[in-house]
């Protein structure tokens, strides 16, 4: 079946429908990872967005369900150049075609994803519509497309009831704004008992559990929309409990302590972004997925200082809070997909909890 991707600037790409033949309007973002499509699909941070894979051959190794980063795929739509018709991998249990259908994800294949990516790079992230309606009218759909704003996405992706990963080590409270499973897994692998809380849990409730440390997860959407959560995070900050935050969590902590965030032209999504540890000068390749970033001009230097910076564009990639056992990063040390180079940050968090417990 034919399908069309219509961008808010009126550009139309014609291709073939994949997944469910359902019309959808979303924000179109691109990801440059060459492997890890399932992890991308199941990363809750993509809620409210449709993802373009810049790598042209997707689905080659099928679906290995154990690699899912959450219970289901989240993107509103999926845009690829070519889906493999015959997956091959010893763990593959399913084809990506079937997976998309099973979870009701609409998508389009057979389009020039490079041309699309260039357009998004040049014009910035845009909204778009995926449709199988061959008789679409641009005049009718463009206003609708332009209107779209992703909202309420954290609420949509966070878990509904708290969940515990048993462990015998430090007790960590993980605030789920759309957490990838490997965050809890990385802590759990290090012996932590991880209690996952819904995003809007009150700080008091979390602190009442007397966790050794609190982890703020990644998640979708505009951080400034999460006003309630920001207020709770401020309380957590004030509690002097060790905090480690990733991505959205990092942005929310910055907002809670007085800094601002802004939307980037087209964001960072992929597995090849270099970040520099400003303390050691070491550069690590990181996995990233964010469209917003902390505005360093608004950061109170008495509150926090930059700990990581993006080597390519100089944007902030991490903050270290002064006088507080709090450190946050914009990138994804939990990887999945992407490089595992910064996994040591979880060890740093464990060390921080240990030191704090001794103090």
């Amino acid at each position: 079946m034919k399908a069309f991707l219509i961008l808010e600037d009126g550009t139309v790409y014609a291709g073939t429908s994949i997944g469910t033949a359902r019309e959808v309007i979303s924000e179109i973002v691109f990801n440059t990872s060459m492997a890890g499509y399932l992890e991308v699909l199941t990363d809750p941070s993509y809620a409210g967005q449709a993802v373009v894979m810049t790598y042209p051959l997707i689905g080659n190794y099928g679906i290995c369900y154990e690699d899912m980063e959450s219970a289901k795929p989240w993107p509103d739509g999926y845009i690829v150049r070519e889906l493999s018709r015959r997956p091959s991998n010893f763990r593959s249990e399913d084809s990506i075609q079937h997976f998309l259908e099973k979870y009701d994800i609409p998508g389009i294949s057979g389009i020039d994803t490079r041309a699309l990516t260039k357009r998004l790079r040049e014009k910035g992230t845009m909204n778009g519509m995926i449709t199988t309606d061959e008789k679409y009218s641009l005049d009718a759909v463009l206003p609708k497309i332009r209107e779209y704003v992703p909202s309420g996405v954290v609420k949509k992706v966070t878990l509904k009831e708290k969940k515990i990963w048993p462990g015998s080590g430090p007790r960590v409270a993980l605030l789920d704004f759309g957490a990838k499973d490997n965050i809890a897994q990385s802590l759990n692998d290090r012996g932590c008992e991880v209690t996952v809380y819904p995003a809007e849990t009150a700080a008091e409730e979390i602190l009442a559990g007397r966790p050794d440390g609190i982890m703020l997860s990644n998640g979708p959407g505009d951080p400034k929309e999460c006003t309630g959560i920001i207020a709770e995070i401020k309380k957590i900050y004030d509690s002097n409990t060790p905090v480690f935050a990733i991505c959205l969590g990092h942005q929310l902590m910055a907002l809670a302590t007085g800094a601002d965030t802004y939307k980037m032209k087209y964001g960072h999504r992929g597995g090849n972004h270099p970040v520099k540890d400003l303390e050691t000068g070491r550069v690590y390749i990181s996995s990233q997925n964010h469209g917003y970033v902390v505005d360093m001009d608004t950061l109170d230097r008495n509150v926090a200082r930059a700990s990581f910076v993006n080597v390519n564009d100089g944007t902030n990639e991490g903050l270290s809070y002064i006088g507080k056992p709090v450190f946050t990063v914009q990138f994804h040390p939990e990887a999945c997909p992407g490089p595992q180079d910064t996994g040591f940050l979880f060890d740093r968090f464990l060390k921080m909890m240990e030191v704090n417990a001794d103090a």
């Binding site: 440059t32 890890g36 190794y61 994803t113 490079r114 990516t117 790079r121 390749i285 180079d341």
Partner: protein, 1065 residues
């Protein structure tokens, strides 16, 4: 960390002659590194014995030594030039070994020279099997159960503990020389004893066989601060068991989930960190296709063939970055040359698929075993880029120039299915075609997978291509079908054949339906950042993003494709220099080529690089877009020349010598007329098509005769026939392929062969020098030792040669380069071959004379005259230096190949000896070619009857040098009868003592065996030569070469003087 200010002058060691396993990739790496160093204000001293390279140009380094790569010579250069550092990681295994020897001898420390780019400790840890194993165990990286053995019996004992089959890998050899897989004790003994002999340190690794696992490679970079990145990973279509240099390789990996991808990536970073490598490194893995189990196969602590491929596949300049790291920079300080917005500390993201296919020499060595093992056999490779795997594979297949344009292989197409199934078990260069034919016959993919272990994903892609063949055959050609066929990169000619239409019709339909190629940029970042680099590939399923910009006139230079015997790196040298010359003259330059190992396909050589197959259709698509003002074909060897006619049809002006004149030199009738008009004699001969005609001509001329197809390179298919039987055999071989052009039969004249390269501006000529061959005519010029200036020619002869050259160049209206081969027979000069294009000798003659011939030829093409450029026409004054070019062979890599020299070229590379005297130059050339004698002072002489009288003198001279001579029956008798004492030795299969035992016991350091021409070649002689080569014994097959070696040995060169060729001219 900024640049280390103490590094001011660096000696860069090159990789020496092109041999199988060490090819042009090191010229590419070395050239890029030298330019990168010079950019930083470093004074660069270069040493490399290979004159055909771009790195040995005076524009690339400040001091250039084309000298033998031996410890003694490099020591002398260090003492003379006093560099503060040596950079050995860009010259392959050869340079690394040399650096190790310098270090172990304490020479570097003594002279306060530091090794940069690596440390002795790193080299040892990566290269020494035992230390490597220990290092891997320390960091918990799995390696296959293995043991290093130094003798055969412990090899057997160890294998008995882990079970057959086992893989054998000799330490410190290149291209896996001497390695292999042994399935039983006999094979083990064979391969192991051979491997022990070939290893520099007498060590062989015996390892559990993991054949059939996925073979995955990672290219990793690390700086001194410890920052690491992976440039790219690659997956071999051929599972473990086939050397990666002989495998079809895909980038990035296709069948690895992120979990496997990251597991191996993390492992590669751990390894490069543990080995403390500063620069580039290649890690090869075997990955169990049914689990997460993996093992590290090998680590190359240096720039390698794979890194050249990774550089071209991603656009990330590994050698350049490695050089900067060696100077002390960290990855985040080095800008990414492509985006100029990002830094070297990021990992390329590909938004296309890359396929590499090796180029094997089996068309040259028809008797060599085609089986692919852990010992590399390919001489070169092609790479292609497309938005899908099928397209990339199709492009790569036609880039190989083997007359195949799809997965249809005639031999398999005619085979019955049962036989085909048997063929599928053969692991050779045709396996993928065999698999395709199996799919065509309906054999299930699973069955093919069971036999080949090729991943089902790849097999399914082959099936997609096979299905397209069927669709084209069965269904009407709709726009949709044609569009899909083009997306899969089916060339028009194949679509035409399958649809029963003509190629022009298909092209017409494409135009009508708007199905044309688009071009995309290789930008390292999957379009995330804007790229300023003009590095392009085509596809049929996307928007075109290339703007044919500029107001300058545009020249398109056609490259020379994959490195093969007969068309090597020399043509890349010419292509690159012509690009530079045209740029200097103010033209916009466009290069089209498909060889990832070369300098010409570096994105900063021409103004635009199209990485594409060199077929008429592919070139036409570029022409349609770029509309060049002209094309130059005379620098890209036969590959480019072959495109002349097609380019003219497209309306592209051929710059330089016209196509008609090129044709005149190849067309026998036209050429004979020109010779007649110029009153230039040539050996008598005629053109024939059939065997009967050939026999008639041969008998009229009288044997011996030379027989060959026209329009071929490197003397392909050329043979000397001494009787009717030979003619029948050779004609049958030549006519196996349908010949479009007649076959030439010429009288074979014995005499001195002389060669000339000249620049002609249509009127005047400039000859840089006259070269003379050591071997008599009959041995291909590329395989002969060539001496400049000619040593035995009288002034009068030289005058005649210059006169003939001028006449021929004028008669052929040459604008640019011309190469002429003469023969001096009984005091008379004959012309035997004229090529109005660049030749193999151009780089070497440029370097010894200091004349920038390619630049001059390019300027001539743009309309300048020799006089205008400030040169006096005629023969350039002879240099004060003598240069000897010596061919280098790779016979030890090609089991079953006959090493006997003849009219068909067999050498893979060359070295140069340059000195003030002929004797020193000759000595250097032998040394550079790896012939270091005497060792045991025991030799074998066995010559054909015709050579027996001459062998006496050869024997006498070796005696005088203290040699003990062993000889077989007839030769022995002649020697003894003439007072040269020789010990009679039995031939191969006879009782002890026989020749084979002598050779295998390392008692011999030289074998002289001159084979009979034609079918008188005995099987015994063949076996003697093969055994000598495989045992590492020097083997000469011509008495002329033997005499030259004697001259060199007798001259006893005690002290060699390195010559800085940057000071010449």
């Amino acid at each position: 960390m900024p640049k280390n200010p103490e590094i001011k002058k660096v000696l860069v060691i090159g990789s020496g002659p092109i041999v199988i396993g060490q090819a042009a990739e090191f010229d590419y790496a070395g050239t890029q590194a030298c330019r990168s160093l010079k950019e930083e204000g470093i004074e660069v001293v270069l040493v490399n014995s290979n004159p055909a390279t771009i790195m040995t140009d005076k524009d690339i380094a400040d001091q250039v030594y084309i000298e033998p790569l031996t410890v003694e010579v490099v020591e002398q250069i260090i003492l003379k030039e006093k560099p503060d550092s040596v950079l050995p990681t860009l010259g392959g295994q050869a340079a690394l070994n040399l650096a190790m020897e310098l270090e172990e001898a304490g020479f570097l420390k003594e002279n306060r020279v530091r090794l940069i780019g690596t440390t002795p400790d790193t080299i040892k840890k990566a290269e020494d099997r035992q230390e490597f194993k220990a290092a891997m165990e320390k960091i918990g990286e799995p390696v296959a159960p293995s043991a290093v053995v130094t003798d055969v019996s412990s090899g057997i004992a160890f294998t008995n503990t882990i079970g057959y089959p086992v893989v054998l890998r000799p330490a410190y050899t290149l291209g896996g020389s001497g390695g292999g897989i042994a399935s039983n004790e006999k094979e083990l003994v064979d391969i192991l004893s051979n491997g022990l002999r070939l290893s520099r340190v007498g060590q062989v690794l015996v390892e559990r066989c993991i054949a059939g696992w996925k073979e995955i490679e990672y290219e990793v970079m690390r700086d001194a601060a410890g920052n690491c990145i992976t440039v790219c990973n690659m997956e071999n279509l051929d599972p473990v068991g086939v050397h990666t240099g002989d495998s079809i390789v895909v980038a990035p990996s296709q069948t690895l989930a992120d979990k496997e991808y990251q597991m191996l990536r993390t492992s590669a970073l751990n390894i490069i960190s543990e080995l403390r490598i500063t620069g580039g490194c290649n890690v090869q893995y075997a990955l169990n296709p049914d689990s997460f189990e993996y093992c590290v196969i090998e680590v190359n602590p240096r720039v390698s063939r794979s890194s050249a491929l990774a550089s071209k596949a991603t656009g990330y300049p590994i050698a350049k970055v490695a050089a900067k790291i060696a100077l002390g920079y960290t990855l985040d300080e080095i800008p990414n040359a492509i985006t100029q917005k990002t830094y070297a500390s990021f990992e390329p993201a590909l938004d296309y698929c890359v396929v590499k296919i090796p180029k094997w020499p089996f068309d040259k060595f028809i008797h060599a075993k085609r089986t692919l093992t852990t010992q590399m056999k390919a001489t070169g490779e092609v790479m292609s880029i497309c938005t899908n795997f099928e397209g990339a594979l199709m492009k790569a297949i036609r880039s190989l120039e083997q007359n195949l344009y799809s997965l249809i292989y005639p031999e398999f197409a005619e085979m019955d299915t049962e036989k085909l199934k048997v063929c599928l078990y053969r692991v050779d260069d045709r396996r993928i075609f065999c698999a395709a034919e199996c799919i065509r016959r309906g054999i299930p993919l699973e069955e093919i997978h069971e036999v080949t272990r090729i991943d089902l994903w790849f097999l399914d892609k082959i099936a997609v291509l096979v299905e397209m063949e069927q669709s084209l055959k069965e269904y009407p050609l709709t726009p949709e079908l044609l569009r899909e066929a083009k997306r899969l990169e089916y060339p028009d000619r194949v679509i035409a054949a399958l649809t029963g239409k003509r190629e022009e019709e298909i092209r017409g339909l494409r135009r009508e339906w708007g199905i044309t190629a688009s071009y995309k940029t290789v930008d390292t970042c999957a379009a995330e950042f804007s790229a300023s680099t003009p590095y392009y590939y085509s596809c049929f399923d996307g928007e075109n993003e290339v703007e044919p910009a500029g107001t300058k006139k545009k020249i398109m230079v056609l490259g020379s494709g994959p490195i093969r015997i007969g068309q090597g790196i020399e043509f890349d040298y010419c292509s690159v220099h012509s690009v530079w010359a045209f740029k200097d003259c103010g033209y916009e330059t466009i290069i089209v080529n498909n060889n990832p190992e070369t300098v010409s396909t570096d994105f900063d050589i021409a103004d635009k690089l199209y990485f594409e197959p060199l077929t008429p259709e592919d070139v036409e698509s570029i022409v349609d877009l770029e509309k060049p003002d002209g094309a130059v074909v005379q620098f890209g060897g036969q590959t480019a020349i072959k495109l002349t006619e097609a380019l003219m049809k497209m309306g592209v002006k051929i710059l330089g010598t016209s196509a008609g004149d090129v044709d005149a030199a190849e067309d026998r009738e036209l050429f004979d007329r020109i010779l007649e008009e110029c009153c230039i004699p040539r050996p008598a001969g005629d053109t024939v098509f059939t065997c009967e005609e050939a026999l008639a001509v041969a008998n009229r001329l009288g044997y011996p005769v030379l027989i060959r197809p026209s329009y071929v390179l490197g003397g392909a298919g050329m043979q000397i026939a001494i009787n009717d039987q030979d003619i029948r055999e050779f004609m049958a071989i030549i006519n196996r392929n349908v010949q479009e052009h007649p076959i030439l039969v010429d009288k074979y004249l014995v005499g001195r062969e002389v060669e000339v390269d000249a620049v002609c501006d249509g009127e005047e000529i400039l000859i840089p020098g006259i070269m003379e061959h050591i071997e008599r005519a009959g041995i291909h010029s590329g395989d002969s030792i060539s001496v400049y200036p000619a040593q035995s020619l009288s002034g009068e002869m030289k005058h005649v040669i210059v006169d003939y050259t001028r006449k021929l160049a004028r008669a052929l209206h040459v604008k640019g380069l011309i190469n002429i081969q003469f023969i001096v027979h009984e005091g008379e000069v004959y012309v035997i071959e004229v090529n109005p294009r660049s030749s193999r000798t151009v780089p070497y003659i440029s370097k010894v004379t200091g004349l920038p011939i390619v630049k001059l030829a390019s300027e001539v093409i743009t309309g300048r005259s020799i006089q205008e450029m400030g040169y006096r026409p005629g023969l350039w004054p002879e240099s004060e230096y003598v240069a000897v070019k010596m061919p280098v062979f790779s016979f030890e890599k090609l089991r079953g190949a006959d090493i006997g020299l003849g009219p068909e070229m067999k050498s893979t590379g060359e070295v140069l000896g340059i000195a003030k005297t002929f004797h020193e130059a000759l000595y250097k050339a032998f040394l550079g070619a790896g012939i270091r004698l005497p060792k045991t002072r025991q030799m074998v002489i066995t010559v054909k009857d015709a050579d027996k009288p001459e062998a006496v003198e050869v024997g006498r001279r070796f005696k005088a040098l203290g040699y003990t001579i062993f000889a077989t029956g007839g030769t022995c008798r002649v020697l003894n009868e003439n007072g040269v004492f020789a010990i009679r030795i039995n031939k191969l299969e006879q009782e002890s003592p026989n020749l084979l035992e002598l050779i295998l016991d390392h008692k011999i350091d030289l074998v002289i065996d001159t084979p009979n021409q034609g079918n008188l070649r005995s099987h015994d002689g063949f076996l003697i030569r093969r055994h000598a080569i495989e045992t590492g014994v020097n083997c000469l097959t011509s008495l002329d070469t033997a005499n030259a070696l004697l001259t060199s040995l007798e001259s006893r060169q005690e002290e060699l003087t390195p010559v800085d060729i940057a000071r010449i001219g």
